[in-house]
Point group: C2
Chain length 285, copies 2
């Protein structure tokens, strides 16, 4: 049997094969399904996927709507892929009857885990992305507020509380990395921009020098930095390749002289940088 | 065969069974292994786990260190659980030989996906948490900076650009939710605190009234709000149950009168709130 591959027509009238649809279907936020499903799809770089997340599918009626959508795709001839973390066997049966390729991300592992732990899984929905305890919530909220207050050296008031201080020239990725570490790990992260004024001396900038052991540096490639700075101030000295090259060379010298660990952000996502920083600064609890 | 269960001694000399160790072992950031592994463990609320994430295990030598740690746990008599997303068959064999219960989170699904897609998985490491394209990075960075600038009504400069404006009394969870939506979805999110001054009128506060269609409200329970406010200003009017009750009643009235969708943050995590808001405001791309 051959499938007719449907085509979509672009604005100029050219045709292209329709992207394969990947559904992430969950009885909760959909974060687990999205995370693992996307990690799996990353192994097929040659195929274009359109991703649709459908959270909070926790009733038979809700599932019926989802199944209708999926079935429309099946009828169009390009079988959707459905990643699910649904726990209810009844809802799972509905989704499996849709005719799509259904990949159940939980139940096989859950059975393996039951046997490893010699224990039966709870009938409740898994509440991993649930509210958790109030202390953890406080820690997270405090960390995000600390990060906002200490972003871009706005405040050096409570640097002594910082778990880590990110230092780098402007636009090397300090702010998003700071926020990721705060939001996900409840860490107190300050960040401090290295400017031309910081380079006459060989030491770390005054404001952070006494916390040298908590400093972590970021660098990038001159080309990437220039690209990112153009986005903010096009065709300025600030974004010129010469200025970017100079600032990065000075920053890396500074890190080396002061034994500040550092990484190159040009080839890393915010998640990867956060993982490297936690590892290097021994911040994993 | 019975296992001797090792005990740990608490500060007061009482003994308790040692927590079961759950390892999340990855050749990349460990985020996928942590996310799915934790979702699975949440189904066993009666068992206490100590969680250890080991990222960047991508060489045989690196794996040997990990295996040594795991094996020490096996020898102590409480078999660790190892969740892994390692792709290399050679490293997987090393880990499987440690004697722990190993739950391979990827390879079974990858084989199912190969057959569903009629395609072979790439030999490369899956780069889901890799750097991605620069446009996506810009969007994320812009969103985090926008969130910092528009936190707590600090700036109402570019509210017309906001994808969503979170409104709520102080301490209902606006800031962490704003940051989560910005960091994970690149959405432009402003937040605006409702204060006593906002309640003489029936309408939305002046600054946000013209963007009513983009407003989303948060509420919580008076008890929870009082608890959270005590954390900031203990034993103040601000944190009193009476004041919290009043502010929340007024806020909910305001949401209802102005048809602003809202949710109760007291029973929801930041992840869940973000998922509900995206769903309700139709912000999923």
């Amino acid at each position: 049997m051959t499938h007719a591959v449907p085509v979509t027509r672009g604005p100029d009238g050219e045709t292209a094969p329709a992207a394969r649809v990947a559904y992430f279907v969950s009885d909760s936020t959909g974060i687990t399904a999205e995370t693992l499903g996307s990690a799996l799809l990353a192994n097929f770089p040659g195929i274009t996927f359109r991703r649709v997340t459908i959270p909070f599918v926790d009733t038979v009626a809700g599932a019926a709507d989802v199944v209708r959508d999926i079935r429309a795709g099946v009828d169009d001839g390009v079988e959707p892929i459905v990643f699910t973390t649904i726990k209810s066997p009844q809802i799972m049966r509905q989704i499996e009857a849709s005719g799509a390729s259904v990949i159940d991300l939980l139940s096989g592992h859950l059975r393996d885990l039951e046997s490893a732990l010699d224990s039966t899984a709870s009938e409740q929905l898994g509440q991993y992305h649930g509210v958790g305890d109030i202390e953890k919530y406080f820690a997270r909220m405090r960390a995000v507020e600390y990060a906002i207050e200490h972003d871009d050296a706005q405040s050096v008031r409570a640097l002594d509380l910082a778990d880590v201080i990110l230092i780098a020239p402007s636009r090397c990725g300090k702010t998003p990395t700071t926020m990721y570490l705060a939001l996900h790990y409840g860490l107190l992260v300050a960040n401090y921009p290295l400017t031309d004024e910081d380079f006459p001396s060989d030491g770390l900038p005054r404001a952070v020098a006494r916390y040298a052991g908590r400093c972590f540096g970021l660098t990038t490639t001159p080309l990437r930095l220039s690209q990112v700075r153009h986005e903010r101030r096009p065709d300025s000295t600030y974004s010129s390749l010469a200025q970017c090259t100079l600032e990065l060379r000075r920053a890396e010298d500074l890190y080396r002289r002061n034994r500040v660990p550092f990484l190159n952000s040009s080839t890393k996502s915010v998640e990867e940088m956060s993982a490297v920083i936690m590892q290097s600064m021994r911040l994993r609890s």
